[in-house]
Amino acid sequence: MTITNYDERILKSNHPIPGAPNNWRRFFGFNTDAKVIGIQYIVTALVFLLLGGLLGMLIRGELITPPSDLFDPTVYNGLYTMHGTVMLFLFLFPILSGLTNLLVPPMIGAPDMAFPKLNALAFWLVPVFSIVLLTSFFVPGGPASSGWWSYPPVSIQNPLGHFLNGQMLWIVAIGLSGVSSIMGAINFVTTIIKMRAPGMGFFKMPIFIWTVLAAQILQLLGLPALTGGAVMLFFDLNFGTSFFNPETGGDPVLFQHFFWFYSHPAVYVMVLPVFGIFSELFPTYSRKPLFGYKFVAVASFGITILSLVVWVHHMFYTGTPMWMRNLFMFTTMLIAVPTGVKVFAWIATLWGGNLRLNTPMLFCLGGLFNFIFGGITGVMLATVPIDIHVGNTYFVVAHFHYIIFNTIAFGIFAGIYHWFPKFTGRMFYEGLGKIHFTLTFIGATLNWLPLHWAGLLGMPRRVASYDPEFAIWNVIASIGAFMLGVASIPFILNMVSSWSRGKKAPPNPWNAIGLEWLLPSPPPHENFEDDIPTVLNEPYNYGLNKPFVLDEEFYISKALNDS
């Protein structure tokens, strides 16, 4: 495993290496290589994580004292609307598209995505709709301030009468984000269905590929409903139609149906790939086969199907009839079954394993811990009698941050650390990674755990001032939020310094099984090129004497020679 001293870039100038200092320019142009696009997505999304985090810290700064003193309440409305929108549409979706772009082709042995140009186009829409969304800070009346869900009739008010208003820009940005996501989804589904390596039947695919397939099919089925609703909202806002306008006979609750028909599954679109990351990392760092591979794989599609029929649980307190509440309470609780299958499979994988607690594994374990907690509060919220009382309080805010940040973002960080050596060709600094994890875990817990109590006591969300009895919980939460801000410093330091001058990474630093680990680090432009391996088994047989691909030694030595 010795790495020779010569500069491989001289010998491989025909295949530009991601991250090589002499060709950094390709990350700033229209490039159709999925590995370049993946890194473009991830870096762009991380910039928006900082922006969304800054907005979040401004919110927590306002809430550190009971009265509304830091901002005008109207400005506060804009802050939480933009915080949610930036985090979901500018950070989470793009960063997951980025990880998916990096991982899908190498993991299935494909040279690239099925439609490389469409892929690049989907990425370049991200800066376009980001600019549209952020422009709304500078238009008269300020940005959209009806919350990230933009319920009418609040969202169809245009008091200043300008055509160019914050809410209109919000709708346009969401529409463009939808176009980008659909382009991505078509690409991912086609690639996974048609371009797998020989021998890789469905039940030999890595779980990450299963979850991406499930998530992207969900995207294809759900997202158009939101687009349809957004088109109608756009007309209501700007052209005086009456789809959702109660004054002229429209039905505002109809928009809620359109919105949540997509936006509830959207949570699963985000969490499923993270389940995939968990399923890749737990076996690798426990040195044990994944427990119940087939059940974990099929459970992904159980989640996909069920998540299409649970959306009304967001509307228990908006005037839905009783039969609908009961029906959707039942379906919502049912979704705990496939999710529970996965959680038990991960715990059974960890049980008695030879754990290696490096940064990616720590983030995975932290994410799993938080997910179990957030899942339990999820089942509580699915119960109609509880939801009627705590709906629209900080209990809901705490619950979904436990899923969105404490699970999904933790999983994303785990994925970034785990595959960092593979795609940059450099090792990260373990010490900085552990500092990042510790600060993130403590900060996230301090930030959102106390808000459960504030919510149970009845503190309403989306209000700039609150009763002084909630002060103690909010002070702790704000300290946690600022800690999360600090946590980004070791992360950025680690990424920048490791990528520019970290130790060179071997092809398989974690001794993991998987097609991507049979490639040199970083992989060449077209991955396996003409020597595509023939897959014999699923990639989780740690410690078992089952071969993974035909001629494994050939690929291992080839990767070592090329690295």
Binding site: F115, T190, P224, T227, G249, T534
Partner: protein
Amino acid sequence: MTTTKSDVLLHTPGHVKHDGHNLTGFIIFLCSESIIFFAFFVGYGVLKLTAPTWYPDGVSGIAVREPLINTIILVSSSFVIYFAERYLHKKNYWGFRIVWLVTMLMGSYFVYGQYIEWSELSFSLSSGVFGSLFYLLTGFHGLHVITGILLMGLMLIRSFIPGNYDSGEMGVESVSLFWHFVDVIWIILFVLIYVWQ
């Protein structure tokens, strides 16, 4: 080694290179696109059943005769485009071009008929729930018809490129599929707006 590469290949799906994916991708796109229409149709149904006032003042229903002629033209164009494809399979390129052009003309007649209908109506986009839904559905569908005609024009021009069909007739197949899709959507739309009054 007991298993050989060909043994494994016999039992598993083949590995396909870049070329033949466009039709798969396009079919996936159409499935997704149909959900937008589905959302609009559900919106139409829900509002029709629950809205306190449905038709705008002074409107009691909507004329069916011209839209019915339009429907017949559009539905038959779906059969015509099928014959165009048949000609192409038989490598009769001029037959294909002429029948393809006939489909385009039928599509254009549909758009013209839609324009005439719109210009004669007494209500607008902002005349209550029905007006909003009527223009949204027919307008969004009309955009798809126009897109279909433009795509057909593109395919017609490309048919003059020598060797255009050497690697398959994927573009023509996709556009034809799109045309059938637009057709099916129109039938549902026609039933919802004109039949269910």
